[in-house]
């Protein structure tokens, strides 16, 4: 397959399928028929169908370099970073789709869920492939809008509405800031091409600084830089579990990728961006962990843990951007990928518990920490999967999170500066602190006395267990063979370093 055509297909398949899925689903609902299975399986087939072009692109990009695609005046280019994001998004979305079959079954507007999911994935893949600053915003905004709709999926729940409104307003404010930043860059450089801007922004003084600040804060809302993170725990905890996994695993990370792309245009305007990210990283790690420490609601705790985990990625990227250290970028991307797996698994496993304990009984009550007492007896696989996810998030070997954190810390040491060494110690201490909320949850699941909720729980569907199993195995496998992911990370890292003028 021609690489350019593969890129076109990769984006076209989900966008074209989205309305088809909606129509098939809608028609079957209108006829009161049982045809909704068609919409479900069609969604899965769409994702599997995206696998082939993605594979072609992967081989091409890793071996030969970026792939270009021209549609009218719009130029799309998939480089290492774009490929990395596409792989991550594709992997997680496919698993979330399978997971959602039983999870969303029977909910009102089920077909809309399946129609929006491929659209959400496509916007993120497109976001990674853009070469134009304004297009970046368009993809970003499209991703945001799709995710509003998905967060509000349980629109009969007060909590879901409340969370979506807060998410929407904050996100929109951020998006306005990004637009102003784009205006500043455009006015100054007369171009929007990501690769042409950097030299033109050199010595731009306040122009560059203001644009950068607007980008950092604007995208920062989506990335959940503390203190812009307040929408995140609300949205993550009220969305359907599959969407929580997507939000936490790839949506906020796509925001991060967008920020990296946007800041890349300003790389010659100021050397401060890396340091700024390092600062936000430290704040995120601390705030995320402290806020998670005393949460009683499981999904909310996981959401705060995402705030902290983003902080680790920021440390890696910050080091890479300030000092051009490849391990920083590679570690950052590695952690991004691993976080998609780990947090994806954590949210899906919690979703499996929600499914067994509440949803099958028609309740949408949140899962409290105390509900998980003794869950391992009845749900050994799910409890094990959640334990693995939590331990991996805590950075314990032989699991994925340990590997990527190690690489980030190594990158910090490579700078050979005392403040960064302190920053690593600080991050290390926070990893220990994070065990203060992960470990008790695991202990609860392995009690002998099951909680009443668990005792009354229903069995978990096979299609829910399957993605959990795959993700668990992947997390363990990466822990044992950290080399597997290195080519993908390295090519993403070299795209980033190139944008910041280090290669």
């Amino acid at each position: 397959m021609d690489a350019g055509r593969a890129l076109l297909l990769l984006l076209l398949i989900p966008f074209a399928a989205s309305p088809v899925i909606y129509l098939t689903g809608r028609l079957s609902v209108l006829r009161q028929g049982t045809g909704l299975w068609l919409a479900r399986w069609f969604t899965l087939i769409v994702y599997l169908g995206m696998g082939l072009p993605l594979y072609t692109l992967g081989r091409y990009v890793l071996e030969l370099g970026p792939v270009d695609l021209k549609i009218g005046r719009i130029v799309l280019q998939m480089d290492g970073l774009g490929l990395f994001l596409a792989v991550t998004v594709w992997l997680l979305s496919t698993l979330v789709t399978i997971f959602s079959f039983p999870y969303i079954r029977g909910e009102e507007d089920e077909e809309k869920y399946y129609a929006l999911l491929p659209a959400l994935s496509a916007t993120m893949i497109g976001l990674g492939c853009t070469r134009d600053l304004f297009n970046l915003w368009v993809w970003f905004e499209a991703m945001a809008i799709t995710s509003y709709l998905l967060v509000a999926f349980y629109h009969h729940q007060k909590g879901a509405l409340e969370a979506t409104v807060k998410y929407l307003v904050q996100s929109a404010v951020g998006s306005i800031m990004i637009l102003h930043g784009i205006s500043l860059v455009f006015a100054r450089t007369m171009t929007l091409d990501l690769q042409e801007i950097p030299p033109l922004m050199a010595d731009s003084g306040l122009f560059g600084l203001a644009a950068g600040a607007l980008f950092v804060v604007g995208f920062g809302v989506k990335i959940a830089l503390a203190p812009l993170h307040t929408w995140l725990p609300d949205a993550h905890s009220r969305a359907p579990s599959g969407i929580s996994a997507m939000l936490s695993g790839v949506v906020i990370e796509s925001g991060l990728v967008a920020l990296l792309r946007a800041l890349g245009t300003l790389s010659q305007a100021s050397p401060a961006w890396g340091a700024l990210l390092l600062g936000f990283g430290a704040i995120n790690i601390l705030i995320g962990n402290l806020m998670a420490l005393r949460q009683e609601e499981v999904k909310r705790m996981l959401a705060y843990s995402s705030v902290a985990q983003v902080g680790y990625m920021l440390l890696g990227f910050g080091v890479a951007m300030s000092y051009g250290i490849a391990d920083g970028a590679e570690g950052g991307f590695y952690h991004l990928f691993n976080h998609a797996l780990m947090k994806g698994l954590a949210f899906l496993a919690v979703g499996a518990f929600l499914y067994a304990l509440y949803i099958t009984k028609g309740s949408h009550a949140p899962l409290m920490v105390s509900d998980l007492d003794g869950a391992s007896k009845k749900y050994p696989l799910t409890a094990f999967a959640l334990s693995i996810a939590l331990l991996a998030l805590g950075g314990l070997p032989p699991l994925a999170g340990f590997v990527s954190k190690w690489q980030i810390f190594v990158a910090g040491a490579e700078v050979r500066s005392t403040p960064l060494l302190w920053l690593i110690i600080f991050a290390g201490l926070n990893s220990v602190l994070s065990l203060g909320y992960y470990a008790p949850l695991i202990n609860r699941m392995y009690r002998n006395q099951p909680s009443e909720v668990v005792q009354a729980g229903q069995p978990i569907a096979v299609l829910i267990s399957l993605p959990l199993l795959i993700l668990t195995l992947a997390i363990v496998a990466i822990g044992f063979f950290p080399g597997w992911m290195v080519p993908l990370n390295a090519s993403a890292a070299s795209s980033l370093l190139m944008a910041f003028g280090f290669r």
Binding site: M291, L396, I425
Partner: protein
Amino acid sequence: MTAGILLLTIFLPWAGALFVWLVGNDRPRLQHSLAVGFSVAGGVAGLALLALGSPDEMVVLSIGGAFGNFSFRPDGLGVFLATIATVIGSLAVIFSVDYMRHEAQLGRYYALVLFFIGSMSGLVLTGNLFLMFAFWEMTALCSYALISFYNDDPKAVAGGIKALVMTQLGGIGLLIGAILSYSYLGTVEINVLLDKAELLPSNVLGIMAFGFLIAAAAKSAQFPFQTWLPDAMEAPTPVSALIHAATMVNAGVYLLARFYPAFAGVPGWQEAVMVVGMLSALLAGLMALVATDLKRVLAYSTVSQLGYMVYAVGAGGVFASQFHLFSHAIFKALLFLGAGAVIHSAGTRDMREMGGLGKQMPFVRTVFVIGALALAGIPVLNGFWSKELVLEAGLQGGATWMFGVMLFTAGLTALYTFRCVWMVFWGEPHHPAHLHDAGPAMKTALAPLAFGTLFSWLLAGSFSHLLEKTLPYHDIHAVSLVEILEEVIFAPATWIALGVVALGVLTWVFRDSLRLWQEVFAGIGQTARQSFGFEWLNQAVVRTTIQVAEDLRNLHTGVLNWNVLAIALTLLVVVVILALGA
């Protein structure tokens, strides 16, 4: 061949862990047999490895970059500890067949124990700092999960998390050392670090040296991290014997011994190591004297004996420390498993509720006394020889006043050991019911350990040969067994030490006539019971963190306007910071 057997010591237990876990808790008999089978096979591989020690590196997986190559090296330091881990591990598993009979969630128990055994082998055999750190954390993970095995008991959960958090805190020291090695030497190979340590800037080497010391202190429950080990005694007793006496806690001593050649030149490092060892030995000895929980007494004595080993490394006695480690692993495992047999049948850990158990449990009494005599340093058991070597190394390589303190602690050891044995096996019976002696599986595990306690010192000569042959950077001179015996017997330090030990024993025998002294020491006893204030410090830190976390939550008001205000203010702050920076 060597590589295959080396990997077997890691992967046989791991495979066992997987199988036992997959079998499921519905078939406990199969679980018991699988666990015993795999752990014994691992033990055999460990023993075979002992004969194959070599300084050569074996690369298993080449990854490069920040992860280095996954390499292993069966040198003397490594194989000895790997053998201890696999052999004592298999004995602990055999013991568990009786001890854990009819317990729920056996699969989790055995899987974690076996996973631990493999990880411990890996930790000591690997030649790569990244892997070492990974195995280091894996052992901590198993330790945590096994301490809180009885998850319904809040004390067990708290103890497990405490152990995890404290060893992880120390782990940061190891992490910093390892990443600095990569940063300045471009590799995480341990031997490259040992080889090129002088090339590092002195301040970097200093950070690494003290980072490793912190890591070792946390892992080996040394001052000021000693508080986690007593709380770890909530674990099932075979786990205490294996992880918290014979193997994992030795990892810290191993770490110091392994990197001694690199750090010996760092100013103040040796002294710091010795002081840490000395303080741990002394304070833990005092705490053991006043504790009433049988397992806690043993835990404190473990801290104290580890202190001896750390002290020996600091004084340059790498061989002495490793030899004491070897002896201690055997006799302390014996003591713990013996205590496990007692606790299993008495149903309590409080020594005040025991007493006079000797008649009812003659086998356990015999082996426990053998272990206790070794702990007290009575000739000719293995603990005697190794402790004398440690003291001698301390006298040669360190200050005399420290030697004095260690001597005093030796007396203290004898005192608390006799107190403990007396309270459990002799004296007034406080337990009405008739107690059964150890079961067959327990006896199978205890007998080899008792045998080892009596005779393991005969291996000292070949041990030193192995160390000399396989450790190119450590500058260890091989000595034959006869030379070691002569050295110990004719050293004046030995006789002084024996005198002090005798004094300790006599103090216990004539305790009733020493009322006056008891009054004097009552105050010390009181502070010792409260862990000399360290427990309070730990709790204060935890309390503060939780309070801060709770207060911080109030900042999440849930009011949309405030959230947007945060965005606007952040923009302002970022702009100001950037403007000031520019």
